[in-house]
Symmetry: D2
Subunit: 143 residues, 4 copies
């Protein structure tokens, strides 16, 4: 897919709702969606050579600085969810992803989310300019 | 405290960071903050007679429909956090809270957050007008 | 498979280790194995018509009364695990399962576990004699 | 307290049951007890100079190799628990703790547990003889 001159990079992962995921009113506890977003980032990293460990080998961690989830429909025990993640291009030294979650059986929308991550050195200092390895990664994928 | 004609309703709770809260780079995993916000809502409920079970007895659950967290500083094992929750008055049938989290020892800001909840009947239907018990609660606390 | 006169009932499920599963020393936090065991019980329930919700419809919940895990090898981020669950026949009104967990790539043993569950009515009373629906289930599967 | 010639080393911590701790039948999910045991080990470490980070500075991590929990009574939302941890002396290079958990209000027994930990170097090798720093710690506390 193209978005202007850029490729649109997306990945998809599937989540199964377990007993330990639901709360006292039998719906998935809202905090668990944060795990589903992380699953999607891992799937994205695997697909596009951008795994957590690859980033770490280049000297960085990428802490989340902004998390925004809009919950559209509740989810019950045993349901299966699809989580789609899309990379949002940016000129600055940050990582932004959009997410859409829907129920697998009928594509009922379940949630939308956005996360923003910054690059931090292992010494705990935020990186304000784009790290070289990230610049190369963006060129490789036309971002 | 007053905010215009309204009282400003706040509560505070304390959180201790345990070994199981930190991730592979020794900082609190960002998803755990969702628990800290829930702790604060529980403290608020206890202080102002607005507990989860009290709401449930009135026929409602209050699912989160919007969660927004801005992470300002990372947190390490063994640190103690203070979580302050403030009720945000609204004319509509929803519950909005703001949160500020800081490190106990030196008041370093750690995160800010907002949650929005709607009222849902036990049959799973969202309530668009203000439930009676919530109207009474708002009057009681001048909200 | 046969075990004396009885069939040996087993099910298998697969687990992927996510970033949020590992601890500060980069191995899966030991408490997360409890989730993997529950995944396996769910797979068993699906395979043999013994799901949590099916038990609940028959009037019972089945709280864990004994959990024993022996950890044999640590597990790292990104590894995939196989969890095998085996039903352990018993004449009394309880559910016992044995579990073996190994690494998918090389079958390295990771853990062994046993859980015991009792039948409790929804009113919170433990059932000392075998519930009818459980007796029928045992006959159906020659247990 | 004395146990033969040895001091009996115990510590106590308090746990509050949050909404996110209970499951679909409104009792604490059994896997969460593993966190309560870790809280107690942390309290023990603080009291007796045996924190996780202190062990780590001496070159070791101490992975759990055996976890055994016996659940005696279910626990509901809002209850407070007391967790008592007792160090079990041993001549070999391992750490064994016993735990008792009870409800704070009426001392109802909730669970008993045992954990066993071994010493592992940061390179991932199990230590079969008692590490020096652990020998000194045992002498200091007459264990």
């Amino acid at each position: 897919m193209k978005n202007g001159n850029k490729n649109v990079l997306t990945a998809v992962t599937e989540v199964e709702v377990h007993f330990y995921d639901v709360d006292a009113v039998n719906i998935v506890w809202h905090g668990n969606y944060v795990k589903y977003l992380e699953n999607a980032r891992e799937a994205f990293g695997t697909k596009f050579g951008f795994e957590y460990m690859e980033i770490y080998r280049n000297g960085y961690i990428t802490p989340i600085v902004d998390l925004h989830i809009r919950y559209l429909n509740t989810v019950a025990l045993g349901e299966r969810l699809i989580v789609e993640i899309q990379y949002v291009p940016s000129k600055s030294a940050k990582l932004t992803y959009h997410y859409r979650i829907w129920r697998k059986t009928d594509r009922l929308p379940v949630a939308e989310a956005t996360t923003v991550q910054l690059f931090m050195s292992k010494e705990g200092v935020f990186e304000t300019s784009t790290p070289d390895f990230f610049r190369r990664w963006k060129q490789q994928w036309n971002q």
